[in-house]
């Protein structure tokens, strides 16, 4: 296993060094003739409206929060998925399947909850039938 990890490490090293070398070579070779148009944020002609340093919509945060919970779910499901074939071959596949299904079903309740409350709606105000108006 140590050798496999070493190959992952070399993959990371190569993956990091290829773009760094390419950008570094370009930086060394290219001529530098800056002018205001070139230094603009969008070189293609679009004029920036305002600074990018402003408060983002909290919606991003809420979606990331929902994502995090299901991310943890994936991390917990993965080890079971690894041994699932072994359990099927042993004739106990049904048991493993039901257990996994229960695990996912409980969290599907959570998905149904956020869905029903309209937290997944990108523009919330257009929906009037959400439970959110309740006190």
């Amino acid at each position: 296993m140590q050798f496999e990890l070493a190959s992952i490490f070399f993959f990371v090293v190569v993956g990091l060094s290829v773009p760094l070398v390419m950008l570094g070579l370009g930086w060394l070779v290219r001529p530098r003739v800056p002018n205001p148009q070139k230094l603009a944020v969008y070189e293609c002609g679009e004029v920036a409206v305002q600074s990018a340093w402003f408060n983002f919509n909290p919606r991003f945060y809420i979606v990331a929060l929902v994502f995090l919970v299901f991310d943890v779910e994936v991390a917990f499901t993965y080890p079971v998925a690894v041994v699932f074939r072994r359990w099927v071959l042993r004739g106990q596949g049904g048991f493993a399947f039901v257990e996994l299904l229960l695990f996912v079903a409980i969290l599907a309740l959570g998905l149904a909850y956020v869905w029903r409350h309209g937290d997944l709606e990108w523009i919330k105000a257009t929906r009037r039938d959400t439970l959110d108006e309740a006190p």
Binding site: A64, Y78, D119
Partner: protein, 172 residues
């Protein structure tokens, strides 16, 4: 150290990445740069887990901390008040208050590291994920299903709080 020791080399490389990025998190004047430096810290810790043979823990660290929590932290940073005034976002005015506890905790950690007898066990270079899966389906079956319930509670609770916070901000 006479011969080249690849184990020690990898350890110091990963530890260096972790410590330098952690210093970046603590010392960056801009809170957004702190959040980005956290990427290096978390990745370095994941590398250390893999280095120690904890493959599932390392990948879970990558998946949850870098893929989930770091993104959440970045969005939280983007939601902070007065983010536009970058210079005030991360003043080190807490240096006088923060330094003594930091030194004390450091001293405690060093003392614990030196005083504790660390029992050396034989390294087991076997993948842990399959064993964990077997455990989830056998002796840890009830805790495994309970985790699902805990996650459900966390989701509902977090949504209730986050929704209220979003409403107070008035940006709907």
């Amino acid at each position: 150290m006479s011969a080249f020791n690849p184990g020690a080399f990898f350890f110091y490389l990963l530890a260096g990445v972790t410590v330098i990025s952690a210093a970046g998190v603590a010392l960056a004047r801009n809170i957004l740069y702190s959040a980005f430096a956290l990427l290096g810290t978390l990745a370095g810790v994941a590398g250390l887990y893999l280095f120690l043979g904890a493959d599932f823990l390392g990948v879970a660290q990558l998946l949850i901390y870098i893929g989930g929590i770091l993104v959440l932290i970045l969005f939280a940073v983007l939601l902070t008040n007065r983010i536009g005034e970058v210079r005030i976002s991360n003043v080190s005015s807490g240096l006088i208050v923060g330094a003594p506890p930091a030194v004390a905790v450091m001293a405690l950690c060093v003392r614990v590291a030196l005083r504790t007898p660390w029992p050396l066990t034989e390294a087991v270079p076997a993948p842990t994920t399959a064993r964990l899966g077997e455990a989830f389906l056998q002796e840890l079956l009830l805790p495994f299903e309970f985790v699902s319930l805990v996650l459900l509670m966390a989701l509902v609770g977090a949504m209730v709080i986050a929704r209220r916070a979003a409403k107070e901000k008035g940006v709907r």
